[in-house]
């Protein structure tokens, strides 16, 4: 399991870096999908197979497809790639790199003081996740459902038909 963890953790760091630096939006998105899939590998090796499955189904399989859908509709071409490349040069990197350094220092400190735990303490299955969702974390679930409800209303409001649309004559 340790080897699985190291491989998928390494992959996820690498693909995330590539996702940030690619100038072609679809290539970037695909590297992000790979990063999410390797995160699923990390979760699995840490003894959380349910979280791993959800990572694949929801993040990689649904949300990223919607991202891809939008990018496809924007029909970005070579000029947008060039613009992207011009944005990603020089001073623009300073602040993000500094922030990432702070995070890396913090992360290194934590790892040095706790030491890596090689074996998963115990496997957390779907039943345990479901039970804690509806007991310990009930307020969080309720808040999330309220948020989703609000989003649903917003989508309904945006998508409503105010006046009858005239039928296109040429339509089949």
């Amino acid at each position: 399991m340790n080897a699985v963890f190291l491989i998928s953790a390494g992959l996820s760091v690498m693909t995330t870096l590539l996702a940030i630096t690619r100038t072609n939006p679809v290539h970037g998105l695909l590297f992000m999908v790979l990063s999410l899939l390797s995160m699923a590998g990390v979760f699995f090796s840490l003894g959380a197979p349910f979280a791993a499955a959800l990572e694949v189904i929801i993040y990689a399989g649904a949300i990223m497809v919607l991202f891809l859908f939008v990018v496809m509709m924007l029909s970005l071409d070579k000029s947008s790639e060039k613009r992207e490349r011009s944005w990603m040069s020089g001073k623009i990197w300073l602040v993000p790199v500094a922030l990432a350094c702070v995070l890396a220092t913090e992360f290194g400190y934590v790892v040095m003081h706790t030491g890596p735990s090689s074996e998963p303490a115990h496997v957390i299955d779907a039943q345990m996740v479901g039970a804690s969702m509806l007991t310990t974390y009930l307020p969080a679930v309720e808040l999330a459902s309220m948020l989703l409800m609000a989003a649903l209303f917003a989508a309904y409001h945006l998508g409503r038909v105010t006046e009858p649309v005239a039928r296109n004559k040429g339509a089949p």
């Binding site: 679809v26 695909l30 349910f50 791993a52 499955a53 189904i57 990689a60 649904a62 497809v65 859908f69």
Partner: protein, 319 residues
Amino acid sequence: MVEILIDIGISVALLLSIVTLAAFLTFVERRLLGFWQDRLGPNRVGWEGSLQVVADMIKIFFKQDWTPSFVEPVIFVLAPAIVLVTVLLAFAVLPLTPGIGIAGHLNIGVLFFLGMTSLTVYGVVLAGWASNSKFALIGGMRAAAQMISYEVFMGLALIGVVMQSGSFDLVKIVEAQRHLWFVVPQFFGFIMFLIAGIAEAHRLPFDLPEGENELGAGFHTEYSSMKFGMFFVGEYASIVLISSITVILFFGGWNGPFLPPIFWFMLKISLFIGFFILLRAALPRPRYDQLMSYGWKLMLPLSIINVAVTGALILSVPA
């Protein structure tokens, strides 16, 4: 060491037999369609046309593998591979019999299957985008919208089975059906799962991403030779996949009297594959907006009701 070798042997044998079966289905489908539509179908190569697959293979391998100049080269090549690989990976969790299967006891088996089917979308969508032509792009967009919508209630439809068997483990689900197949208590779940499965495999009547009368060949318009062949084999492999998972979840998997388990499994999945082909012969294709509103306005509420009723019954009837 020996166990690992046996596992590898089973995996390789399974992969080869699935790909061969999928290729052979291209012939079976055309022949059956011929019978049902009162014509002959391919009947010249070999006995009753049984070597047609070999002829097709020779043809498709030796055709020029042409990559158009306007496509996005890397993703264009990657897309058919994604389709085939994700479909074949999903077979890893299917227990064909108690002994044959790669990871039948995986404790998230059902979720693994759902994850792999949701990744199949990428192959189709990227093929549409990378082809850089209008028909292919429209096909890819249709595929993205259709497959995401139908995935939602595909998951909800089989939650009833998971609730009744109390596990995501496919072996346990089959063992829970020793006395009564889940198609009886979960009849609505079965119907909805089958409809979602047809849409996920984008087979007729839900093959809007291809829609040859309006989109050329849809998302694979620009593909030729074996790259097209991989989409083709991937589609038939996903028919085999959906048939197998339906049998495992709703029709008792390998359970059956007298005869060996593998025979029962093969018999059941052949019936479902035949049913898939019959659907193609029998049903016309809906319009795209009809397909979407059918999914979201009818199937989704029904599947949620199914989950609620199943839960209420399990709670009210003490086991």
